[in-house]
């Protein structure tokens, strides 16, 4: 029932109320998923055109090489799924859908994101994962309502500074790209809860990228990280820290200040010891240390320091 109210309010009362609703947290967040039971989902443009207020269109698995020309007639479209087609180029029709809140382009063949993405200012969720995207434009800064940005499995080597303007972002998935650095503006994403950076080309993790007061999940597994900055401690709400398959020889002392940490994966690094003070990680329940040259005495120390934590050596 809630999503129905949400959709109707956004239409009736306009942008201001919609913004309020987003601030209302989980209530608004559910709008990011289509609601097939309460609002019709159409499976072709032709079908959708019969409904003057068609909001949800699902064109998954339709072997499309381009989007249907009439797509732009669906002025009220809020949810568009184009997953697993053969789309390699951007058709301008997509950028006329200014009411769009969810755009799913997963598993296509697009190579870049055009500047026109700025037209879709109401986007809340974008899924561009599993494409061949090597370029994101600065214009992404126009997407100030964006909460979820999925860019996993692409070819990105950089993220534009404009990302810092997407201040509502909660989930940023950039794993399985070719990133070796982040823009300085990344720390403007104060609402960010989940940052996925695994399987990239990071060699270090700079302190200037680490200032996310609401971050709960940070995944940097399978990079080549040999340095993690002391500023990791600023992520006060961090519950999950995934650092497996890197080249860490030491951890910053700051890691022991992550009082909320539940899961810490350090498997397959070069750690011989953990910092003093790990006993401060009182909430830590799971610690993965397999694949590290840790001495037996250090193992004993770690186990004693973390009596409530299951440690895997």
């Amino acid at each position: 029932m809630l999503p129905v109210l949400f959709f109707s309010f956004t239409h009736m009362k306009g942008r201001f109320l919609a913004a309020l609703l987003f601030i209302a947290g989980s209530f608004a967040a559910k709008a990011q998923y289509a609601d097939p039971i309460n609002i019709p989902v159409y499976y072709s443009v032709k079908e959708a055109l019969a409904d003057k207020k068609a909001k949800q269109l699902n064109l998954r698995d339709q072997k499309l090489f381009y989007v249907p020309k009439d797509l732009s007639k669906l002025k009220h479209l809020e949810f568009l799924n184009l997953m697993r087609n053969n789309l390699e180029y951007w058709d301008k029709e997509i950028f006329t859908l200014t009411e769009l809140e969810v755009l799913n382009f997963k598993l296509n063949g697009i190579k870049y994101v055009p500047e026109d993405i700025a037209n879709l200012k109401k986007l809340i969720r974008i899924d561009f994962s599993d494409n061949s995207i090597s370029y994101l434009p600065q214009e992404i800064k126009a997407l100030t309502k964006l909460q979820y940005l999925h860019l996993s499995f692409n070819l990105l080597i950089s993220i534009p500074e404009g990302i810092g303007n997407c201040k509502d972002l909660e989930v940023l998935e950039l794993d399985n790209n070719q990133l070796s650095y982040l823009p300085q503006n990344i720390t403007k994403l104060k609402k960010l809860k989940n940052l996925q950076l695994g399987f990239n080309q990071f060699h270090e993790f700079d302190g200037s990228w680490l200032n996310f007061p609401n971050l709960e999940i940070l995944n940097m597994e399978s990079n080549s990280i040999s340095y993690l900055a002391q500023e990791i401690e600023k992520q006060k709400k961090l519950r999950t820290l995934m650092l497996a398959n890197n080249k860490l020889e030491v951890l910053p002392q700051g890691i022991t200040n992550l009082k909320e940490l539940r899961l810490l994966s350090l498997a397959n690094n070069k750690l011989k010891t953990l910092p003093e003070g790990i006993e401060n990680l009182t909430e830590l329940k799971t610690l993965l240390l397999n694949g590290n040259p840790i001495s037996n005495s250090e193992k004993e120390r770690i186990k004693k320091a973390l009596p409530n934590c299951k440690v895997y050596f």
């Binding site: 809630l2 999503p3 947290g25 989980s26 967040a29 559910k30 990011q32 998923y33 289509a34 609601d35 097939p36 039971i37 309460n38 019709p40 989902v41 499976y43 949800q56 699902n58 998954r60 698995d61 339709q62 072997k63 949810f79 799924n81 997953m83 799913n104 969720r125 899924d127 994962s129 979820y148 999925h150 909660e170 989930v171 998935e173 809860k193 989940n194 996925q196 695994g198 999940i217 995944n219 597994e221 519950r239 999950t240 995934m242 497996a244 398959n245 539940r262 899961l263 994966s265 498997a267 397959n268 329940k285 799971t286 993965l288 397999n290 694949g291 299951k310 895997y312 050596f313």
Partner: protein, 847 residues
């Protein structure tokens, strides 16, 4: 855990080496020997021994005791890798002493992953050609099947001896060979790891200890690798196809996709539930991308149940269809259909509901094949990427006592594809399609409860090579799943713990025949199987895939590539494995339980309509009906007739049921009929009644001697003009076709009427037979008791020749008339009077 095990092994190796150092006995294992043509003399062995190294430490283990039949893969073998010829010895015979040979666990070889590395000599550019392997095998003949299966992994050529007698020669030239003979051909790629299968009579064995001796020949001295392993077991029993069973059919001809669903001629299908249909509970239209299609029996019924259909889409979903079998029409009838609701504060949503499973306790599990991040309700669990259990009765996601609906968090978040739960409810197997591509096991704390338990990931002991396992053993590694964080990140932790990536693990199933776990790896084009021993795994092997197969169709034997995309799996009760293919030519394949890669038994069941893949086959408990879906077919497909005899079109996703023709849809009639009278007199009429089954709508009667001679009426009335005995035939027809012709021979007897006493007053009371007679005539009387009976027989001259008087006794009464003393062939007139009624009959006497 694995690491510590490894350390232990290392320690053991060092200890063994220490022992070796003090061992004064020569050892055979090791490194470079001298000239390849050199004979294996004791002196040479000692020379070799002096060069021994720690690498061959395992060789110092005591000589092998005989193994007991059957011999499994990965067994231990004595081997001789010194580069010397044994041609002049009796090395293959039981009397030959191999106690000084090195020993090691199979697979043995070099250049590829093996459990025991053997030597190729000092020169990698001129490797030893022949290596020797021996194992003694204790056989109790009474316990061995008549035919024995030898499976040999040979890279490259092999000759096998049992008690010194050659029994197998493969990839080796015919005739005399020696130590320097190269293999006939080059074995490479996946073939290096495949087991070639040979079936031999058990008479090759003696009672007691037998010597299995193997010489392996390399392709040449520059070959990069050599590999050997062997198993010996009873040959599988021949699969006997039971007429009418769903697994009993003739393969279709291989085909590219057409605009129709093609199934075997022995089968029929009925389209049940299609995208765009209105849900019967009024909640809109059925979405597309039908995936897992699970039949859940109501109280074990094969005629009433629920069909659960996943919608692999975004938005995703699950439909629950209530249905029953109409036993009159043999058609399934849908009584209700509704979507399961996932859009609420507890569950948030569901997307990409791919495959799933039916639990032994009658719930459905739908698998979310998507791990996009997000925790919209801030419950600590990411919103999607879970298995979700649904009660089909309420069509609602389960509530496990926490006053809210929940997903199966403890099983972990991943790109779920499918799950199978063991019949005792203790263990679930599942895999990740994408992400880690690992195989997982969940052991429930309480059988039947999937909300808490321990998760393990499968780790092959020696990995894959060319997509083939390099040995048959594996280990389960525990993966943390205590907290929400553990569960959200379960796969990442499984991968770092050493889980083996298989590429696209799509489905896990448990065989009802051998209890082994079978799973598909779509990206590797194979179905693997293994025996789960708890903490470890044995018998890991490729069951099917990765090659081409000979298919026996109605038009002969053809060869068809397995292709890519093996996806959903299902077993029937006979152990046939049904493999649904998303890729290749999108077939459904059926693999017989006696199949092996070396002796294939593969059938081609069906071809999906253009643009589609088959998904989610399940069966009714009696295995008469199979339900699957046709996912995302092209909208240009054309109409075809299903079991309803109506036209259906696979132009959108749809669920169907298949069955043997005799079990599904209206059947052609089985003709039968009766007549109101079967004995009449000339000129009388007979009314026929149709007794055909399956509601015929038209009839074709043939009346020999009748008028009309044919009829298409349901109840024809026929006049018989002349005396005689006549056949009647009926072919009845309905929408399903014609019946077999029902012929009743000599069904209607028409007796000659004399014109006197017409109608015969004794009709139905008196009959006389046989007629013609040789003299003994029986008069059969059916009358009430107490009437006077007078029988008078006249010859053609009017002389009364026989008279009999008696009383009727009631019921059937036989009166004998003896005409034998009356000479010659002639006609008699017999007058019969019973009480007040009379009848006259003509009787012919013949010699």
């Amino acid at each position: 855990m694995k690491k510590s095990l490894l350390s232990l092994c290392l320690l053991f190796s060092l200890w063994s080496f220490a022992v070796i150092s003090f061992n004064v006995e020569p050892i055979s294992a090791t490194a470079p020997a001298s000239a390849p043509e050199a004979k294996a003399t004791p002196a040479k062995k000692e020379v070799a021994a002096k060069k021994s190294t720690a690498v061959k430490a395992a060789a110092m283990l005591p000589p092998l005791t005989p193994a007991n039949y059957p011999l499994s893969k990965d067994s231990e073998w004595a081997y001789f890798d010194l580069g010397t010829s044994l041609d002049a010895t009796t090395w293959a015979e039981t009397t030959y002493d191999v106690s000084a040979w090195a020993t090691g666990q199979g697979p043995l070889g070099y250049g590829d992953a093996t459990k025991t590395v053997i030597s190729y000599g000092p020169d990698s550019g001129n490797k030893y050609i022949t290596s020797y392997f021996v194992r003694d095998l204790n056989v109790t003949l009474a316990e061995v099947a008549d035919m024995v299966e030898f499976g040999i992994r040979r890279d490259d050529g092999v000759i096998v001896y049992v008690n010194g007698v050659e029994v197998i020669r493969d990839n080796m030239p015919a005739g005399d060979v020696n130590y320097l003979t190269h293999s006939s051909g080059i074995v490479d790629g996946a073939d290096e790891k495949r087991f070639q299968v040979f079936h031999l009579s058990k008479t090759i064995f003696n009672e007691g200890v037998n010597r299995i001796a193997v010489e392996m020949h390399n392709r040449d001295g520059q070959s990069s690798d050599l590999g050997f392993d062997m198993y010996i077991k009873d040959a599988p029993a021949e699969f006997v196809c039971e007429e009418g069973h769903i697994g009993c059919f003739t393969s279709i001809d291989p085909t590219a996709q057409t605009t129709n669903l093609i199934i075997p001629t022995e089968h029929k299908f009925q389209l049940l539930f299609k995208q765009g249909d209105a849900y019967m509970d009024g909640s809109g239209n059925v979405p597309g991308n039908h995936d897992f299609t699970g039949y859940i029996a109501i109280e074990g019924s094969s005629e009433q149940g629920y069909l659960s259909v996943n919608h692999e889409n975004n938005p995703g979903g699950v439909s629950i269809v209530d249905m029953h079998l109409d036993t009159d029409t043999n058609l399934w009838v849908i009584d209700n259909s509704q979507p399961v609701e996932f859009q609420n504060d507890d569950l948030v949503t569901t997307i990409r509901n791919c495959s799933g499973g039916v639990t032994p306790w009658g719930t459905i599990i739908t698998a979310e094949e998507n791990t996009s991040g997000g925790d919209a309700n801030s419950d600590g669990y990411q919103d999607v990427g879970w298995l979700v259990e649904i009660d089909p009765v309420t069509a609602a996601v389960k509530d496990y006592g926490n006053n809210k609906q929940e997903k199966l968090w403890a099983m972990g978040r991943m790109n779920h594809e499918n799950v199978v739960v063991s019949a005792d409810g203790t263990t679930a197997y599942y895999g990740e399609d994408g992400g880690t591509n690992c195989v997982y096991k969940f052991v429930a704390d309480t059988p039947g409860d999937l909300t808490s338990g321990t998760v393990y990931v499968l780790s092959l002991d020696t990995g894959l090579s060319s997509n083939e396992p390099t040995s048959s053993t594996a280990t389960w590694i525990e993966v943390a799943n205590e907290t929400a964080e553990d569960r959200n990140n379960l796969t990442a932790n499984a991968a770092t713990a050493g889980g083996t990536a298989f590429s696209g693990v799509e489905d896990c199933e448990i065989s009802p025949i051998d209890g082994k776990i079978y799973f598909t790896a779509k990206g590797l084009d194979r179905v693997y199987r293994f025996t789960d021993n708890g903490e470890t795994v044995s018998d890991f092997e490729t069951f099917v895939g990765g090659m081409s197969y000979e298919i026996e169709t109605a038009n002969g034997v053809v060869t068809e590539q397995w292709g890519d995309g093996n996806d959903n799996l299902t077993f029937d009760d006979k152990g046939n494995l049904w493999v649904l293919q998303d890729g290749g030519l999108n077939y459904i394949w059926v693999i017989r339980p006696n199949h092996s890669q070396g002796a294939p038994q593969v059938l081609l069941h069906s071809s999906m309509p253009a643009g589609s893949e088959p998904t989610g086959l399940t069966f009714t408990p009696d295995f008469k009906y199979g339900f699957f879906s046709v996912q995302h077919p092209d909208n240009g497909n054309t109409a075809q007739v299903d079991a309803t005899f109506g036209e259906v079109n696979f132009n959108a996703s749809a669920s169907v049921v298949i069955a043997n023709r005799s079990q599904l849809g209206i059947q052609a009639p089985v003709a039968d009929f009766s007549a109101n009278e079967v004995t009449v007199e000339e000129g009388e009429v007979v009314t026929f009644t149709d007794l055909s089954t399956n509601n015929p709508t038209s009839w074709m009667w043939t009346f020999e001697g009748g008028e009309p001679a044919t009829s298409t009426d349901a109840s024809p009335v026929v006049t018989y003009a002349e005396a005689g005995t006549y056949n009647v035939t009926l072919v009845s027809t309905n929408v399903a076709g014609d019946s077999e012709a029902e012929l009743k021979e000599e069904y209607i007897i028409v007796e000659e009427a004399l014109g006197i006493d017409t109608p015969n007053q004794l009709k139905g009371i008196v009959s006389l037979y046989p007629n013609p007679t040789k003299g003994q005539v029986t008069l059969e009387l059916n009358d009430e008791a107490g009437n006077n009976v007078l029988v008078e027989v006249y010859d053609m001259l009017g002389r009364k020749v026989v008279v009999k008087e008696t009383q009727s006794l009631g019921g059937t009464q036989k009166i004998d008339l003896n005409l034998t003393q009356l000479n010659g062939e002639q006609v008699f007139i017999i007058n019969v009077t019973v009480g007040e009624k009379t009848g006259t009959y003509k009787m012919i006497k013949v010699n």
